[in-house]
């Protein structure tokens, strides 16, 4: 395990301390607990937006706390949900009278804890909490009516944060912000490809293997099994296969307008992400799907995993404006 860390058990706390030290003008923690991360810029009567999830995915999740985005985030251990109590503390800290919206990925552990936290917020503090659970990974099953969705939330969550953050900043009320978040969530699709595994520091060895000449299409951001394993292909072939799955899932259609995100999982260089974007742009042009804005970089990582994901968000007039709005956090700035 080649990591620049001290004791594996200390990693998350030391990383968080580093973040608070580096960005003391913008963010702080509450309840004497590094894991309860909130913006310093609280806006009276704005709907509070909270997310949360495991560490190991920077800039996800806490990186989207800041101006024009989210207000707070509870942070877990590597790939572990934060606790209900931590979520509750963040909820109290960010509520400024207009209620709080929980926006987080569709993972059991997070759901159990956010549900407990919402109960505490209602019961102990009379804070109205609404929830939007994010699920954009086309490698996991599409939601079936009446059944609990098992579709995972991955990098496309960024788009939902962006839209909900802009809606809240425009002082929409809780129901409206929730409506925008749900629309963005319904309109976003992601698929990833992994080339190498990552290592949870406390475990100390890769939690799965990918053969030296192979890749796995659809692997989740914690190494969850994907759609297929196969020989590593040239970039254009990988992207073609991924785009076909993504486009068919919503489906996206000729005449649509989209925002695109090419997300690096950690070890994959930015150079390769742009090689992928080139191919994505060509496919979209051929299908007569317009690109309003392209994001390329690391938006939801899995520590040192090599690989990337492609996300598309279908826009309407409202979502286009939400995407275009400015935002400013220590990890993401858009003018």
């Amino acid at each position: 395990m080649k990591k620049i860390i001290n004791k594996p058990e200390a990693m998350v706390n030391e990383m968080l301390e580093g973040i608070y030290l580096a960005h003391k003008d913008m963010v702080e923690f509450v309840n004497d607990d590094y894991h309860c991360y909130v913006t310093k810029n609280k806006i009276e009567n704005k709907v509070g937006l909270a997310t949360g999830g495991g560490s190991g995915h920077l800039p996800l999740f806490l990186g989207y706390v800041g101006d024009g985005l989210l207000d707070g985030c509870s942070v877990g251990d590597v790939f572990q949900s934060p606790s209900a109590e931590q979520m509750f503390e963040v909820t109290k800290a960010i509520d400024s009278g207009a209620g709080v919206l929980y926006i987080y990925g569709n993972y059991n552990g997070d759901i159990f804890n956010f549900d407990m936290a919402a109960e505490m917020a209602d019961f102990e503090e009379d804070i109205r909490v609404e929830t939007v659970i994010l699920a954009d990974d086309v490698a996991s099953p599409a939601p079936q009516p009446g059944e609990k969705s098992t579709r995972r939330g991955v990098a496309g969550m960024f788009f939902v944060y962006k839209c909900a953050g802009a809606a809240a900043k425009r002082m929409m009320d809780l129901d409206e912000v929730k409506r925008v978040a749900e629309k963005a969530n319904a309109n976003v699709r992601t698929l990833g490809v992994a080339l190498t595994p990552c290592i949870v520091p406390k475990v100390g060895r890769p939690s799965f293997q990918i053969k030296e000449d192979e890749m796995e299409i659809g692997m989740g951001i914690h190494g969850e099994p994907g759609m297929r394993t196969g020989k590593l292909q040239p970039a254009d072939e990988i992207v073609n296969e991924m785009m076909e799955q993504i486009l068919n899932d919503l489906p996206f259609q000729s005449g649509d307008e989209v925002a695109v995100l090419i997300n690096g999982l950690g070890a994959t260089p930015l150079e390769e992400l742009y090689v992928m974007y080139r191919c994505v742009a060509h496919i979209l042009e051929e299908k007569k799907i317009d690109v309003f804005k392209a994001y390329v970089g690391e938006f939801a990582s899995s520590m040192e995993m090599a690989g990337a994901s492609i996300s598309l968000l279908k826009l309407d007039d409202e979502l286009r404006e939400m995407i275009a709005d400015p935002a400013d956090t220590p990890f993401f700035t858009q003018m």
Partner: protein, 212 residues
């Protein structure tokens, strides 16, 4: 057999130890289906449960169970961590004011534990979860309490049932958690959460046999 606050703490201890011993085994199972964390969360979670109550001057088993669950929920808020802490907290609420558990009390403890997990997780039997790993043992305990069978007699039956229940999860399709994303392909795999149930119940049965 009568379980007082002393035996309850010993039982917690035994569970913490068995999770520590099976840390790599659980990591291995979870690395096939999920995110490979279960060995860590269970060993840490049960250790936190032990730690929270070991020095408490408290004879109310309900309170001990509740506090151990709350400590676990802080320590390991993973799916299983939260479900297990919910189990302890629900059992704690059900047994509040009790300072001795007989056969009947033990059956109540495990039933409330089971219900706590079920209520938070919204899972049904047959959906390849912890519940499926516990159900057979729970029925033996409940039946034993009704029919007046001693825990000592039930213990070997529990060991056999826990083993069979775990085996049976390899015939089910996962509907919850990370494994669910696999759909049909999840069927032939052992459910890691059910393996935790087997460890808990087997370890409980051995505890009974050793302490009787």
């Amino acid at each position: 057999m009568i379980i007082t606050h002393l035996e309850f703490k010993q039982l917690l201890n035994a569970w913490a130890e068995v999770m520590l011993q099976h840390k790599d085994y659980l990591i291995g199972l979870d690395s096939i289906v999920g995110d490979a964390d279960l060995g860590l969360t269970m060993s840490e979670g049960f250790a936190a449960a032990v730690h929270a109550v070991e020095d408490l001057d408290e004879t109310d088993i309900g309170k001990l169970s509740y506090f151990s669950g709350k400590a676990m929920s802080r320590a390991v808020p993973s799916s299983m961590g939260t479900l297990m802490s919910q189990g302890f907290m629900s059992a704690g609420k059900a047994l509040r004011g009790t300072d001795k558990l007989d056969e009947q009390g033990i059956a109540e403890f495990f039933e409330a534990y089971f219900d706590g997990v079920k209520n938070l997780g919204h899972a049904e039997l047959g959906e390849k979860t912890f519940l499926d790993g516990m159900i057979g043992s729970l029925e033996i305990l409940k039946e034993g309490a009704e029919t007046g069978r001693s825990l000592k007699e039930s213990a070997p039956m529990i060991i056999a049932a826990a083993d069979k229940d775990l085996e049976k999860t390899t015939t089910m399709i996962a509907k919850h958690g990370r494994a669910a994303a696999r759909g049909e392909a999840s069927r032939k795999l052992v459910d890691p959460g059910a393996a935790v149930a087997k460890l808990m119940l087997t370890s409980f049965a051995e505890f009974v046999l050793e302490n009787e």
